[in-house]
Subunit: 249 residues, 2 copies
DNA sequence: ATAGCCGTTGCGTAATGCGCAACGTTAGGA
DNA sequence: TCCTAACGTTGCGCATTACGCAACGGCTAT
């Protein structure tokens, strides 16, 4: 492992929380400010960070560039785009696209609610595994042993009264999701929001991504949310077709 | 400058063009593969890159996360600052930055004319909707029904001989602005001043602010003002890039 | 005018990251 | 089934590289 690189990447991560001064950053990686400056200079030359005023550094524009190019590489996103936008336009609710990579569930696309009340989320963010509908959908497709393994390794932080808090309950939930063909998050992540999610499948029937709809409870009760299931499933189906999946009757 | 960091960032840039193997990457930075591997390992531990299969590396999910967080951090004012200051320095004319918030057009930044004759304005001031170039730019991006609504609600106080005084004329003007990509105020607000304005766009192409240049007629006739259009558009473009907008084609 | 706070620079040192070469591991063909 | 080749991986010893130090410089505020 490269020490200076490690430090530099830590700096970048730190700058994601907002602009910082040279000395603040030195404190974070615990080195002399001259060392920090050398790292920042190199980062700056690659446009990973840029100066803001005289005393502050912030993230640079190379990141937008890289992130966009990386996102285009993942073609689920492009393939699902139309179906997701339509769903968002029809219902007006927040629509998310997530995928499972390297043991993590990541939001790779998002269509904001047109209602005044929005939920906070962000592309690139990691979704907690035990209390989101998208994670349930994505994990339910893993082979049995791997599922057990993951279920055991989760830190079941209880976020609401409904949060699942044991591996056994979680595994049972995954089984339910697998057979039902969709997952819910009944206010398990945040008290005032519930979600439904469905799998998007690829050419070999494997789950390549999950699409979810998130709705504030004040706008729609749980039954109302489930009422949108046919629409969600149709959306997931359309997106799956775009990903090379062929429906078998 | 840090050598290893420099190499690592070069690797990241290279990976933006698509997944690569260890040896391909070694070729790019011209070092031994063991060296490349150490760098990749560190990048991987920060989720900047991830493995794809056994033989390939690609960009990791941290980049999405960082890029989106960076975008949230950025406010238009800071992002546009450099481009606007440059424009002001080059031309010597008054440059304004305005945004549309809560049904009002507000000046959020200003670079004063270096010429002895200045126009009066102030950051935080509301711009009249029917007779300023910035308002035309900002309103032209609203969805059709909303535009009609706003156009109807305006009080068309005639301030000069050129002031637009009817909703229909105003809506037609917005259409012109929308297709032209810039707006003018040909002495519609004050008899002795005319302006040009252009949109600053965000990551999704939406108009997040407007930049304008205001010039006393005694210093420059209308054709002379339009002669500055390329410069203004380039400024708006540069500011847009800082706001996360990516030029297409 | 002065003090204090940051960022900046040059330098000598040793820790760090480098290349090398030997070792695994996987895949494909005889 | 075994052999070979191609690629990733590991340990090691050397010197390049990045580190901390301390002095300098610019800015601001009092």
């Amino acid at each position: 492992m490269s020490q200076s690189l490690d430090r530099a990447l830590t700096l970048v991560g730190e700058l994601a929380t907002g602009p910082k001064t040279l000395e603040e950053l030195s404190g974070v990686i615990e080195v002399h400010k001259s060392t920090t400056m050398r790292l920042l200079r190199t980062l700056e030359s690659h446009r990973f960070v840029q100066r803001e005023g005289v005393h502050h550094y912030r993230l640079g524009t190379a990141l937008f560039d890289l992130a966009n190019r990386a996102l285009e590489e993942r073609d689920v996103r492009r393939s699902a785009e139309n179906a997701l936008r339509d769903l968002n336009a029809r219902t007006g609710y927040t629509v998310h696209l997530a995928s499972y990579e390297d043991g993590e569930v990541i939001y790779i696309d998002k269509y904001d609610s047109t209602h005044p009340m929005r939920m906070y989320s962000r592309i690139g963010r990691r979704a907690p595994l035990h209390c989101t509908a998208v994670a349930k959908v994505l994990l339910s497709d893993l082979p049995e042993p791997r599922r057990r393994e993951v279920a055991r390794s989760i830190d079941y932080v209880p976020l609401t009264a409904n949060t699942i808090t044991t591996p056994d309950a979680y595994l049972a939930e995954l089984d339910r999701v697998r057979t039902a063909g969709y997952a819910v998050d009944n206010a398990e992540h945040e008290d005032f929001i519930h979600c439904v999610a469905a799998p998007i499948r690829g050419a070999r029937g494997e789950v390549v991504a999950a699409v979810s709809m998130s709705v504030p409870k004040v706008l729609l009760d749980f039954d109302g949310l489930l009422g949108h299931l046919p629409d969600l499933l149709a959306t997931a189906r359309a997106a799956s077709v775009e990903c090379g999946w062929t429906p078998r009757d």
